[in-house]
C-alpha cells in the first residue's frame, strides 16, 4: 500500500524477448470480473507472475557459459570444415572430444548417452555391450552376451540400462551384471525411456508397444499397433508421447492410456526410416525410404520443410539448441535453423570412411555429436549444438555419487503417473469447460458402454461354451 507500482512494460527489446520465454501463457483478463474480491486476488496474482517473469529474464545475466558457433568468413562454407581442421583451431579440451573407437568385429553399434551427457553406452549387433565415461575415458564395464543386440538404452541414471536382445529385453547393472529379464517384451527392435515417468517403452517385430514401469516393475500397458512390425520410435520430450514410424509411411502418436493411436499422420511414400522430435515438442523430423527428409510442426500437424538425402537416412537426432543431425550411408550431416526457414546447404558434414552409420545422438549439454557405425563408435564436435548452461537440479554432468543418490530419490518422489500422459502436458489442474450435468452424462454413457462391452463378451463366452458342450451329457440336461 505505499509501494510504488512496478513498471509494467519492459523497454529493452532483448529483455522483452527473454521474458517471453518465461511467460507460460497469456495473462488472465481480470478487469472484467465483477466480484471485487476475486478481481483483487487475480490482480495480485498477475503482479506476482509479472515480477517472477521479469526476475527470471534478468537472472539470465548470471548464466556463465555461452553457446558455441562456427561462422564462415568470406566465400568459405561451414560444411567444408573437416574435423581435423576444426581440432587444430579449438582448445585442447574440445579437440579431445573428437575420437574414433575402432571395433570392427562386432557389427554396427547402437549408442546411448545419459541425460547429463556424461556416460556413453554402446551395444554392438553381435552382442558386445560396454559403458564408459567418455570425457575421462573411465570404463564402467565391457561384456559379451553372444546374442543379437538390437538396441541399448540407459534407464534413469548411469547405474542401470536395458538391452533389447534377440528374444527379450534384459536390464543390467553398470557393472555388466544382468538384473532382470523382461520376458513380456519379445523381439524388441527399439527402446525408449521416459525419465519423468520411469517408463521403459518397447516396440518390436510383433507390432506391440509395451510400457514397463522400471521403478515398480509393473507392465503398465500393452498396445497393439495393428500396423505391422515397427523399427522406428522416438519420444517427444515435451509431452512424453511416443512417435512410431511404420512401414506404410505413417507416423502414429501413442500414449499408454489409449489402445488406439492419438494421431496418425501420413508422412512418406515408403518405409519411415528415422524419427526425431525436438526438446520443445514443436518440431518433428522424419526420414523415409523415398529419400525425403521432412520437418513437421507437431502442434499443427503440417509439414514445414522438405529436404532430401542422397541415400535414405538411417538415423536422426535433434540437439538441445535445434540443430538437426542426419545419418545416411557413411555420412553425417548437421542442419542449422532447418525448421522455420528452408536452408540450401547443411551446417556441417562428416564422412566416416567405408562404415555405414547406424545410430546418431547429440550429447546433451555438449557441442558433440556421437554416432555408432559398422566399424565402431565415433564422436565429432559440432559447435553450437549443446545447451551451454545446465541446471544442477535437472541434469548435472559433474554429479557426485551422493548427489546422484539424492537426485534419484527426489525424482522417484516426483514420479508422474502414466495416466497423466496426454498430447497437452499443461492440462493438469486446468478447469474443464463442461458443466456438471455434462460430466455426469458422459460418465454414465462411458459406464453403459463398458457394461455393454462386458455383456457382449460374456454372451460370446457363454455361446462358445454351449457349442463345445453340446455332446456332453450333464446332470441338469438329464433332469430336463
Amino acid at each position: 500500500m505505499g509501494q510504488p507500482k512496478t513498471n509494467n512494460k519492459t523497454v529493452n527489446p532483448a529483455l522483452a524477448a527473454a521474458e517471453r520465454k518465461y511467460q507460460r501463457g497469456k495473462p488472465v483478463p481480470f478487469k472484467k470480473v465483477r466480484s471485487g474480491k476475486l478481481r483483487g486476488k487475480l490482480e495480485r496474482q498477475e503482479e506476482k507472475i509479472r515480477d517472477a517473469v521479469q526476475s527470471a529474464a534478468r537472472a539470465e545475466l548470471l548464466l556463465g557459459e555461452e553457446a558455441g558457433y562456427l561462422e564462415a568468413e568470406g566465400i568459405e562454407k561451414t560444411y567444408n570444415y573437416r574435423q581435423d581442421q576444426l581440432s587444430k583451431e579449438v582448445d585442447i579440451n574440445t579437440s579431445q572430444k573428437i575420437f574414433n573407437l575402432d571395433l570392427p568385429d562386432h557389427g554396427p553399434y547402437s549408442i546411448d548417452y545419459t541425460r547429463n551427457g556424461r556416460h556413453l553406452l554402446i551395444g554392438g549387433k553381435t552382442g558386445h555391450l560396454a559403458a564408459f565415461d567418455w570425457q575421462s575415458g573411465k570404463l564402467h564395464f565391457e561384456v559379451h552376451v553372444n546374442e543379437l543386440v538390437r538396441d541399448v538404452k540407459w534407464l534413469h541414471n548411469e547405474t542401470l540400462f536395458a538391452a533389447a536382445q534377440k528374444r527379450c529385453v534384459y536390464i543390467y547393472d553398470n557393472s555388466g551384471l544382468e538384473i532382470h529379464r523382461l520376458k513380456n517384451h519379445m523381439d524388441v527392435t527399439k527402446l525408449e525411456f521416459l525419465p519423468y515417468h520411469y517408463l521403459l517403452a518397447t516396440v518390436g517385430n510383433a507390432g506391440f508397444l509395451k510400457y514397463q514401469d522400471t521403478s515398480t516393475g509393473q507392465l503398465v500397458s500393452e498396445l497393439r499397433t495393428k500396423l505391422g512390425s515397427c523399427a522406428t520410435m522416438a519420444q517427444n520430450p515435451w509431452n512424453a508421447i511416443m512417435h512410431l514410424g511404420h512401414a506404410n509411411g505413417t507416423v502414429s502418436l501413442w500414449s499408454p492410456n489409449m489402445s488406439s493411436p492419438l494421431v496418425k499422420m501420413q508422412c512418406h511414400r515408403g518405409n519411415v526410416q528415422a524419427l526425431a522430435v525436438d526438446p520443445t515438442g514443436r518440431y518433428m523430423s522424419t526420414a523415409g525410404l523415398d529419400g525425403q527428409l521432412k520437418v513437421w510442426d507437431i502442434r499443427k500437424y503440417e509439414v514445414l520443410q522438405e529436404y532430401y538425402t542422397p541415400r535414405p537416412a538411417t538415423s536422426l537426432s535433434i540437439s538441445q539448441r535445434g540443430l538437426l543431425g542426419v545419418g545416411w550411408s557413411t555420412h553425417v550431416s548437421v542442419w542449422k535453423d532447418a525448421f522455420l526457414t528452408k536452408q540450401n546447404s547443411p551446417y556441417m558434414n562428416h564422412i566416416q570412411p567405408s562404415s555405414s552409420i547406424r545410430d546418431i545422438q547429440f550429447v546433451p549439454y555438449e557441442d558433440v555429436l556421437g554416432f555408432g557405425h559398422a566399424k565402431g563408435v565415433s564422436s565429432i564436435v559440432v559447435p553450437g549444438a549443446g545447451e551451454p548452461n545446465f541446471d544442477s537440479l535437472a541434469a548435472n554432468p559433474y554429479q557426485t555419487k551422493k548427489q546422484r543418490q539424492e537426485t534419484e530419490v527426489h525424482s522417484l518422489l516426483d514420479k508422474l503417473q502414466p495416466d497423466m500422459i496426454a498430447l497437452d502436458p499443461t492440462h493438469v489442474g486446468r478447469m474443464t469447460r463442461m458443466t456438471k450435468q455434462d460430466i455426469i452424462r458422459v460418465r454414465k454413457e462411458e459406464k453403459e458402454q463398458d457394461e455393454s462391452a462386458r455383456y457382449q463378451k460374456l454372451r460370446k463366452k457363454a455361446k462358445k461354451h454351449l457349442k463345445r458342450h453340446e455332446n456332453v451329457i450333464e446332470q441338469r440336461k438329464v433332469i430336463n
Binding site: R24, V90, E366, P383, F390, N396, Y398
Partner: protein, 441 residues
C-alpha cells in the same frame, strides 16, 4: 571463426571437501518439462504426508473432579492458564509442565466465569452461582484478596483491559469498580437474564453481552449507555472479540453456527461458520485475528479460518465429553478445551505441524508445499485426501440428517419460487442475514 563449448571443471566442482557443492541454475522451461504434472504430484505427496503426520493431541490436564465450565488465559504469560470447575474449585496451570501450580476451593456453586486481572498483575477473578465475585492472587495463598457479594447468581465475568473495572452478567449486566462493593453501572435492556459478557481488548470502553432473549447487546462505558442490540433467531452462548481489529467479534450460537459481526453494522453478519451438529458453547479468537476455535455440545472442537465458512480441522476424542470452554493460546500454536469430563485437553492448532525450531531450508520447503497445496486444492484426488477426517458415527449421522433436512427445505423453497409469482417477487434472503431478526439502537 569458431568457438566450441568447453567447460573447465574449476568452475563446477568444489575445491575442498569442506566447501559446499556448487549449484548451477537455468530457469529455461525447456530444461524443466512437465511443470504442472510434477507440481501436482508434489502437492499430492504433501497432502498425504500432512494426513500422516496429523497428530494434534498433546496432553490432558487432569485434576478437576467436576466438569470444567470456564477457562481464561494469562494476557502476558504464555504458559499460565486458569480454569474453574463445577464443584467450585479453581486451578492455575502451567501448560508446559502440564500440572497445577495453584488451587483453591473457591466457591460453593459452579464457577461460571474466570478472567485474568488487568495487565501485569498476578491477580485473577472468578464469579459463581453463589452470588459472589472473588479476586485471587496466586502469591497470597488460598484466601481471596477481595470478595464482592451480589443480589443474584452470576453467569459471566470479564475484566477491563487496563482499568480496575470488571463486568458481570446475571439478571443484569453490572460494571464494578474494584474499590467499590456495589456495581457502578447496572445495564438492562429487555432480557430477564444475561449469559455472558466480554470487554473489547482494543476499544477498551466497549462491552458486549448475550442475553436469554436471543440478543447481543453492546454497551459503551464512556456514555454509560447501551449502544445497540441485535436480535437473532436463537440464543448466543459466547462472544469473542477480535484482538487485532477493534470492531469485529464472533458469536457462538445455539443454532450450531458461529457468526462474525462488525459492531458498526449488525444488520448482516460478515461470515457464518458452519459445520457443528450441536450448539456451539464457546468460541475464541487466535491472537493473529485470522483464526477462531469453537467448542460445541457435540463433543468436537473445530478450527476455522476467518475468511472461510467451513472448518479447516476438527478434533475429537472418545474421552472428551461436551465441551464448555475453549481457549486459543497466545502464541497461536495451541488450543485448549475444557469439557464435561473434568479434563482440559491441549491440542496443536495445526495438526501436522512440527513443533520446535525449524531451520530455514525446512521452512522454505514447508512454505513451498503449502502454496502448491493451495494451487491444486480444487483437484478431486487432493481435495478428497485433504478433507478426510475420521469422525464419530453419531456426528456423521447427525450431519447427514441435517444436510437432508436443510437440502429439502432449500429445494422446496426453490420450487415455490419457480411456480409462484408472488413468492418469486420476494428477494432471496442471504445466508448471512437469515439468523438475524433485527437491530435496535
Amino acid at each position: 571463426k569458431i568457438k566450441a563449448l568447453s567447460r573447465s571443471s574449476n568452475d563446477y566442482v568444489r575445491e575442498r571437501s569442506q566447501d559446499l557443492h556448487k549449484v548451477q541454475r537455468n530457469l529455461n522451461p525447456t530444461i524443466h518439462p512437465f511443470e504442472q504434472g510434477r507440481e501436482y504430484v508434489r502437492a499430492l505427496n504433501t497432502v498425504k504426508l500432512e494426513r500422516m503426520f496429523a497428530k494434534p493431541f498433546v496432553g490432558a490436564l487432569g485434576g478437576h473432579i467436576d466438569g470444567v465450565y470456564s477457562m481464561a488465559k494469562h494476557p502476558t504469560r504464555l504458559a499460565s492458564m486458569i480454569s474453574g470447575s463445577g464443584d467450585g474449585e479453581i486451578r492455575v496451570w502451567d501448560i508446559t509442565d502440564q500440572r497445577t501450580t495453584w488451587r483453591a476451593n473457591a466457591h460453593n456453586g459452579i464457577v461460571q466465569g474466570v478472567c485474568a486481572g488487568a495487565n501485569d498483575t498476578t491477580r485473577f477473578l472468578s464469579c459463581s452461582q453463589d452470588k459472589t465475585v472473588k479476586i485471587w492472587d496466586t502469591s497470597s495463598g488460598s484466601d481471596p484478596v477481595n470478595t464482592y457479594v451480589g443480589k443474584y447468581a452470576f453467569m459471566g465475568l470479564s475484566h477491563h483491559r487496563k482499568d480496575p473495572l470488571f463486568a458481570t452478567a446475571g439478571n443484569s449486566v453490572d460494571v464494578w469498580d474494584e474499590s467499590r462493593s456495589e456495581p457502578i453501572h447496572e445495564f438492562e435492556w429487555g432480557a430477564d437474564s444475561y449469559q455472558s459478557v466480554k470487554f473489547n481488548p482494543v476499544e477498551t470502553n466497549i462491552l458486549a453481552s448475550t442475553g436469554t432473549d436471543r440478543t447481543i447487546v453492546l454497551y459503551d462505558l464512556r456514555t454509560s449507555q447501551p449502544i445497540s442490540k441485535v436480535v437473532m433467531t436463537m440464543r448466543t452462548n459466547a462472544i469473542a472479540w477480535n484482538p487485532i481489529e477493534a470492531y469485529t467479534f464472533v458469536a457462538a450460537n445455539e443454532d450450531h453456527n458461529t457468526y462474525l459481526f462488525d459492531m458498526r453494522n449488525m444488520e448482516s453478519a460478515h461470515n457464518v461458520f458452519k459445520d457443528h451438529v450441536s450448539a456451539v458453547m464457546d468460541v475464541d479468537f487466535a491472537p493473529t485475528g485470522q483464526e477462531i476455535v469453537t467448542g460445541s455440545y457435540d463433543r468436537t472442537l473445530r478450527l476455522y479460518n476467518i475468511n472461510q465458512g467451513h472448518s479447516r480441522d476438527v478434533y475429537h476424542t472418545k474421552r472428551m465429553q461436551r465441551i464448555f470452554s475453549v481457549q486459543f493460546s497466545m502464541d497461536s500454536k495451541f488450543v485448549l478445551s475444557g469439557s464435561d469430563d473434568g479434563n482440559i485437553r491441549l491440542w496443536k492448532a495445526n495438526a501436522s505441524e512440527k513443533l520446535g525450531v525449524k531451520d530455514w531450508r525446512e521452512r522454505h520447503h514447508l512454505a513451498y508445499a503449502a502454496s502448491l497445496k493451495e494451487r491444486f486444492k480444487h483437484m478431486d484426488e487432493i481435495r478428497k485426501i485433504d478433507r478426510h477426517r475420521p469422525l464419530p458415527g453419531d456426528i456423521r449421522r447427525a450431519d447427514r440428517m441435517k444436510k437432508t433436512l436443510l437440502g429439502s427445505e432449500k429445494r422446496k423453497d426453490e420450487n415455490r419460487r419457480k411456480h409462484s409469482k408472488k413468492y418469486d417477487e420476494e428477494k432471496r434472503i442471504p445466508e448471512r442475514k437469515k439468523a438475524i431478526i433485527g437491530v435496535a439502537k
